[in-house]
């Protein structure tokens, strides 16, 4: 089971935090991110992507991380998941982001909070892997976005501008 998904940049700033089972207070989350960041920073290049996370998340937890440009993607999970597979799940997530944003960069992650969460929710649901096919994920996300936008225009039209109705 996946416990948490964290995205932080190489300066240790959180960009996305999602905990699936244990709710963390904001301070606790911060502390964890700091600890993880400390560990990640100290790791050399070309070493394995796995870290035992007992000290941070409790017994029998491990984390897999992957470093892309300015971001670290970290998945935390328990012993019922396969490390290599989790590594690929990160890949699925990032590839999907890349497709959604065309050469995704850190700024996209910061500004598209809602969409990033939508994407993640289509890949992992309640701590379990839901879908690993980028195209399928994209399809669902696009559909959500489309419906969201249409609902948005209908609803907001009278409030914001009337020009939007033409869409």
């Amino acid at each position: 089971m996946i416990e948490a998904v964290l995205v932080m940049n190489t300066q240790g700033k959180p960009r996305l935090t999602k905990f699936y089972h244990h709710h963390m207070t904001a301070e606790k989350q911060q502390e964890m991110i700091r600890e993880i960041y400390g560990v990640l920073c100290s790791r050399a290049e070309n070493v394995s992507n796995f870290i035992e996370a007992d000290a941070i998340f409790g017994p029998n937890t491990r984390l897999v991380y992957k470093h892309y440009a300015t971001l670290y993607f970290v998945f935390v999970f328990d012993t019922t998941e396969n490390e290599l597979a989790m590594l690929d799940l990160i890949q699925v997530f990032v590839e999907t982001l890349d497709k959604c944003f065309k050469n995704v960069c850190e700024l996209d992650v910061v500004f598209n909070f809602g969409k990033i969460h939508t994407i993640l929710d289509e890949i992992i649901f309640g701590g379990q892997v839901l879908e690993t096919n980028c195209i399928e994920v994209m399809k669902s996300v696009d559909e959500i976005m489309k419906l969201e936008r249409s609902s948005n225009t209908i609803l907001l039209a009278p409030i914001v501008t009337s020009g939007r109705n033409s869409r």
């Binding site: 050399a44 070493v47 000290a55 960069c105 809602g114 892997v129 096919n133 195209i135 409030i159």
Partner: protein, 957 residues
């Protein structure tokens, strides 16, 4: 897409991000965020906030909270937003709520109603959003409120809803199994769902269920095997493929379930053999995900009833992992090895050099995993090397958590396998020296006991040698700064008992050392207490031997200082020492006999020596003693300890505590308590108030070790008689408990071994030779076979690895090229699905339905799901291109491979596709896109300044 055109956010939000991104310090960032919180507090409470604005505020709140600040003032607005009818707002509301709230939050009650409504919505996206919230926000109390709706959704027409409903139900099961027990059959039912995705989702709860109770799911073995067979044979639609691997996550789930079902069950395991064997043969090991499945196969094989052939295949894959250059695979290899050696310990021998390489790898994770493996394969023949390694590693790290774990492992191994007592003492010394504050105090007590009791044989000479070597080593260490307290206590105790025993060191020298210790640790009362008692012992031995004791000036100063100490315990010890110095040699010998720590202290439990006193009192008219059990109203008050426990565990029993000071008794029982102590103890310092709670933990050790405390013990006996019947059991055990007898090896033997290991350490410049020796000592030195292997693989190592490399894989992978060509397979898919008739599955197999349904639609599905039929043929070509690129650096090639294999990218942005094909493996950041983004950013006002230009770097670049 709105998301790309200026990110659809207000200038304010962009500015916030920008300023936070440029903050130079945490303090500056905090200031910015606090300011933002103030702004939001004001804005959010304004009347008539447009909904679109409100949505942004909520997102900003989420952002603020992500940065570690409290945004609880806005929670209610997020809750309100979930009530909105517009999908965008509702989803934003749900998102914020799931991130903000935990399942026990007060506001949840306001959401449950909305969730109930949304679960019934016609819009499946609303239903999905609600299900998502259900997973995070519903707790045991609120489950019944939504349970019927969720169960109903198991039959929803949309497969994505069914999937999510199963997972929500799974969450309920995890949270409150008792509420779901009657619904468990639903998971079984969903296993036969028309949609393979739903079937895959049902494997998650089934895995949990099987973990709980294997026997109830034995009947599903055949079905699981059949599903796995079909999935691995690519009978699923192509949309389930991931990097050419059919539904890998489903395969992994299935393998995990099979591992549970096959454990210790021969019949079930027999059913799995064929499919597992096939998977070992067919699974391609060039991709990460392929290796993930292979690893899972190894786990399954090592868990089910052993099968020689499969184990051999598993060992092959393991060795491939270990030989890999990729650290991740090495890690998996080590893990796999630790599973396999449980079944066949000899497997490790073959990989000794690889294991040692991993042990010396700079990668910390790999090193730890390897130490784990070594820990699991420790036996008495290799314990010295392994513990040595573990201690070396322990010294090198700072992580307290892991240090504690590894220290306790060292101690555990040392206690279990120690070849000699001397080695044991040295090892524990090392552990103490470097992690003394982290190990259990019990370890110190064991060490003391071991030194005191020696070998347990009647070989006084060897025991004395052991002790004097311990004394020697402690005198060497004692001067070092920052020794842990527990270790100093041990040192003081040992020095006090044995330092002067063989006449090698003079009493004044040792006393000087002990004074130094006490002085250097003036804040540690426990250590000081140990030091003073040790000095006392040495003085006593000197006096008993007829020599005159001359206290050093610093010693006298210490005693003077302690006599005025705030700690009553230290005071007492100081006075005792002074009193002892005034006694004659005979008396001292009685109080402090030499080397008597192991003598049994006889405790007169009946305190018969008090009989005359009691008699006297009775004659004077005192009431006779009534045993506690006969006293009224005290049935449950048995012992203090017991009472403490009950008090702690339940409040209902608490009133009984009040009955302890029995109103009628104190007058009769109390006077007898203080009297015996004054009567009994001739030594003047015994007026020491024993009632004061003693903060000193190590009292038990001293109890058993010196006769001075024999007096105390007797006193406890008295207390026991009148107070707590079971107390005495605590004061005697140290002598009766024997250390694990490690008598098998004599000291000479151990010395030889020591010498060997010393040798091996000396030759550090000759790495490979040392490595080889290490291997030999780890995996059994005597076996000539291993020696040969070592030689062989050493040669292999020294010769350029690249020459060796291609050779090994080709010989191993001989069958893979035959199975490998997946691209043709992609086209043959329709073919294979037509001849889909299941050859062997049983008639009752619930998966039959699935099979039938799976057989037909793949083509339709693939048509549906792929953007265009033409694109799919293109994708084949692209994939062929990819196939040509060798599997070098497979990790880095993922991005490329996937992009290449993906038709939609081709259609959407040709540039991306072509660039990835061109560069075969790497997808560089595209300048054009970056420029576009940069321009947008400038427009919007976020200028990439010198501090955070990185924000624009492509992730996959």
């Amino acid at each position: 897409m709105g998301s790309q055109g200026g990110w659809g956010q207000s200038k304010e939000f962009l500015d916030l991000i920008k300023s936070i991104g440029e903050a130079r310090s945490k303090a500056e960032e905090d200031r910015i965020v606090l300011q933002e919180i103030e702004t939001l507090k004001k804005r959010i409470t304004e009347p008539d906030v447009p909904k679109r604005k409100m949505k942004e505020y909520i997102i900003r709140l989420v952002y603020v909270e992500m940065l570690g600040h409290d945004a609880s003032f806005g929670y209610i607005h997020a809750v309100k937003m979930t009530h909105d009818d517009a999908l965008l707002l509702k989803r934003t509301g749900y998102l914020a709520v799931t991130l903000f709230l935990n399942e026990d939050h007060d506001l949840i009650i306001l959401i449950v109603n909305t969730i109930q409504k949304d679960l019934k919505s016609d819009n499946y996206l609303v239903v999905c959003a609600a299900l998502n919230a259900v997973c995070k926000l519903i707790n045991e109390e609120t489950i019944p409120a939504v349970l019927p709706q969720v169960v109903e959704l198991l039959g929803h027409q949309k497969e994505s809803v069914r999937k999510k409903a199963i997972m929500a139900l799974h969450r309920f099961y995890q949270k409150a199994p008792s509420l779901i027990t009657h619904l468990v059959s639903n998971f079984r039912k969903r296993l036969c769902d028309d949609d393979p995705g739903v079937m895959g989702a049902s494997l998650c709860p089934l895995f949990d269920l099987v973990t709980e109770d294997v026997s109830s799911y034995k009947d599903l073995v055949i079905s699981f095997v059949s599903i796995l067979k079909q999935v691995s044979e690519r009978r699923l639609p192509k949309t389930y493929d991931y990097h050419h691997m059919p539904a890998p996550f489903i395969q992994i789930r299935l393998l995990k379930i099979l591992a549970l079902l096959g454990a210790g069950n021969k019949q079930a395991s027999d059913n799995m053999h064929t499919v597992l064997g096939d998977m070992f043969r067919k699974c391609e090991s060039t991709s990460n995900i392929g290796n993930a499945i292979l690893y899972e196969c190894i786990c399954t094989v090592s868990s089910i009833y052993p099968n020689a052939k499969l184990l051999e295949a598993a060992a092959d894959v393991t060795s491939r992992f270990l030989k890999s250059e990729i650290h991740n695979l090495k890690y998996m290899g080590i893990d796999a090895l630790s599973r396999l050696i449980k079944i066949n310990p000899d497997i490790a021998e073959e990989h000794q050099l690889a294991v040692i390489d991993c042990l010396e790898d700079p990668d910390d994770t790999l090193k730890r995993k390897t130490l784990d493996l070594l820990y699991k394969m420790t036996k008495s023949s290799n314990v010295e090397v392994i513990v040595d390694r573990m201690i070396d590693y322990m010294i090198s790290i700072n992580d307290t958590h892991y240090k504690t774990e590894i220290a306790s492992r060292c101690v555990e191994l040392a206690e279990q396998f120690a070849p000699s007592n001397q080695w044991f003492i040295q090892t524990i010394n090392k552990v103490f020296e470097h992690a003394g504050d982290l190990v259990n105090v019990k370890v110190a007590h064991n060490l003391i006991r071991l030194i005191a009791e020696g070998f347990g044989e009647d070989d006084e000479g060897a025991d004395n040698q052991l002790r004097s070597s311990a004394v020697d080593s402690y005198l060497r260490i004692i001067g070092e700064p920052k020794l842990p307290s527990v270790f100093l206590q041990v040192i003081c105790w040992v020095l006090g008992e044995y330092a002067t025993a063989d006449g090698k060191y003079s009493a004044s020298y040792i006393m000087g050392k002990l004074c130094d210790v006490a002085e250097a640790h003036s804040n540690d009362d426990t250590v000081k207490g140990y030091a003073v008692t040790a000095i006392m012992k040495i003085c006593a031995f000197e006096i008993a031997a007829g020599r005159k004791v001359e206290l050093l000036p610093e010693c006298q100063a210490l005693i003077d200082e302690l006599s005025a100490s705030h700690s009553t315990d230290l005071q007492q010890r100081a006075y005792e020492l002074q009193a002892l110095l005034g006694l004659d040699c005979h008396a001292v010998e009685c109080i402090m006999p030499s080397d008597a720590s192991c003598e049994d202290i006889e405790v007169d439990k009946n305190v018969s020596f008090l009989n005359s006193f009691v008699q006297q009192a009775l004659e004077k008219g005192a009431t006779p003693y009534i045993p506690e059990s006969e006293r009224t109203g005290s049935i449950s008050v048995t012992t203090f300890r017991n009472q403490d426990q009950t008090e702690a565990s339940s409040h209902s029993l608490r009133f009984e505590a009040y009955e302890l000071p029995k109103p009628s008794l104190p007058t009769r029982a109390a006077p007898s308590l203080p009297l015996p102590s004054s009567d009994l103890v001739p030594v003047p310092e015994s007026y020491q108030p024993y009632e004061t709670p003693q903060p000193m933990q190590p009292q038990p050790i001293t109890d058993s070790s010196s006769t001075e405390l024999g007096l105390k013990l007797k006193l406890e006996g008295v207390q026991k008689k009148w107070g707590r019947p079971s107390y005495s059991s605590q004061s005697t055990p140290s002598t009766s408990q024997t250390m694990n007898p490690k008598t098998a090896n004599g000291i000479t033997h151990s010395e030889i071994k020591e010498a060997i290991s010393y040798d091996s350490r000396k030759q550090q410049h000759e790495v490979s030779a040392e490595k080889q020796r290490l291997a030999a000592s780890l995996f059994g030195a005597s076996s000539s076979k291993s020696e040969k292997k070592t030689q062989g693989s050493k040669a292999m190592k020294s010769s350029p690895a690249r020459v060796e490399k291609p050779q090994a894989p080709t010989s191993e992978k001989a069958p893979t090229p035959v199975q490998q060509p997946p691209p043709p397979d992609l086209l043959d898919l329709g073919d294979s699905t037509q001849s889909n008739a299941p050859p062997s599955s049983a008639v009752v197999d619930p998966f039959m339905q699935l099979e039938g349904l799976l057989g037909v639609p793949p083509q339709e599905v693939s048509l549906e799901s792929n953007p265009g039929a033409s694109a799919s043929s293109q994708s084949v070509n692209l994939m062929a291109l990819y196939e040509d690129t060798p599997g070098v650096g497979q990790l880095s090639s993922f991005a490329g491979s996937f992009v290449a294999g993906n038709p939609s990218v081709q259609s959407r942005s040709p540039r991306v596709g072509s660039s990835s094909v061109g560069s075969t493996a790497k997808k560089g950041p595209s300048p054009q896109d970056s420029l576009e983004k940069d321009a947008v950013a400038r427009q919007v006002g976020v200028t990439p300044s010198g501090l955070n230009p990185n924000l624009f770097r492509d992730l996959l670049g």
